[in-house]
């Protein structure tokens, strides 16, 4: 996967736990875990919007593109 999710880093910067983020977003912790571990195949704009709003960041802060070797 060439898109890396840096949600853990952002959560640490905001000193927020995964459970709290999931609760505020209105999704299950299992779904948030899928996103955090990079198992997700796609992310909805609405989900991305919520994350950015709650963590007060830009989409680029939680996602990173890397070239496959």
């Amino acid at each position: 996967m060439s898109i890396i999710i840096n949600l853990d880093i952002m959560l640490a910067k905001r000193k927020m736990r995964s459970n709290e983020l999931a609760e505020r977003m209105g999704i299950t912790t299992a779904n948030l875990s899928i996103l955090k571990t990079g198992k997700a195949k796609a992310i909805r704009f609405s989900t991305l919007e919520l994350i950015c709003e709650i963590l007060e960041c830009q989409p680029g802060d939680i996602m990173e593109f890397t070239k496959d070797k």
């Binding site: 999704i27 779904n31 948030l32 899928i34 996103l35 198992k39 997700a40 195949k41 796609a42 992310i43 909805r44 989900t47």
Partner: protein
């Protein structure tokens, strides 16, 4: 789904009676092919074959093998319907089984029709190249049916991927 139950019942009925007759044929075949005094003519797909030569015996054997392959495809189809009844639709087993059914139906049809063609060709019988319409036993219909199952397998593979993507969209 009531249609699924009806389909399962028909397949079970067909499978059970075909299995019994196939076992009977296999037992009969053992005596029939190796006993030189048994020269009872057999009618296969409209062709009368008497097991006097090695070739005619091989043709009969090929047609029995073709029957076994077709019966196995019915068994696999029963398994697929079983998965559907358990609501396990987009499983990799279903995809593999659909592909297998297609291959079995095509192989069965090819073996049966080719062997009869060779038999007629060698025995200077009426070598017929015909396209039959409105007949479910025709070569084209059986090949198309086999190909259809293989296409269904591909469609299910695509559907499985879409389902997985949908489930992993957050």
């Amino acid at each position: 789904m009531k249609k699924l139950q009806i389909l399962r019942a028909i397949l079970d009925f067909f499978w059970f009676f075909s299995l019994i007759s196939e076992i009977g044929i296999l037992i009969f075949l053992a005596f029939y092919l190796f006993d030189p005094d048994m020269e009872i003519p057999i009618k296969i797909n409209g062709h009368v074959i008497t097991p006097t030569t090695l070739l005619s015996k091989l043709i009969i054997l090929a047609n029995v093998i073709s029957g076994i392959l077709f019966l196995y495809s019915i068994y696999v189809l029963r398994k697929v319907v079983g998965y559907f009844q358990k609501k396990e639709i987009f499983k990799s087993e279903v995809i593999e089984n659909f592909n297998l059914i297609g291959k079995l139906v095509i192989s069965s049809s090819l073996i049966s029709h080719l062997s009869l063609f060779i038999f007629n060709y060698i025995n200077r019988g009426p070598v017929v190249f015909s396209i039959e319409f409105g007949n479910y036993d025709s070569f084209l219909i059986s090949i198309s049916l086999g190909m259809f199952f293989m296409v269904i397998s591909e469609v299910f593979k695509i559907a499985k991927n879409i389902k997985e993507e949908n489930e992993l969209t957050i």
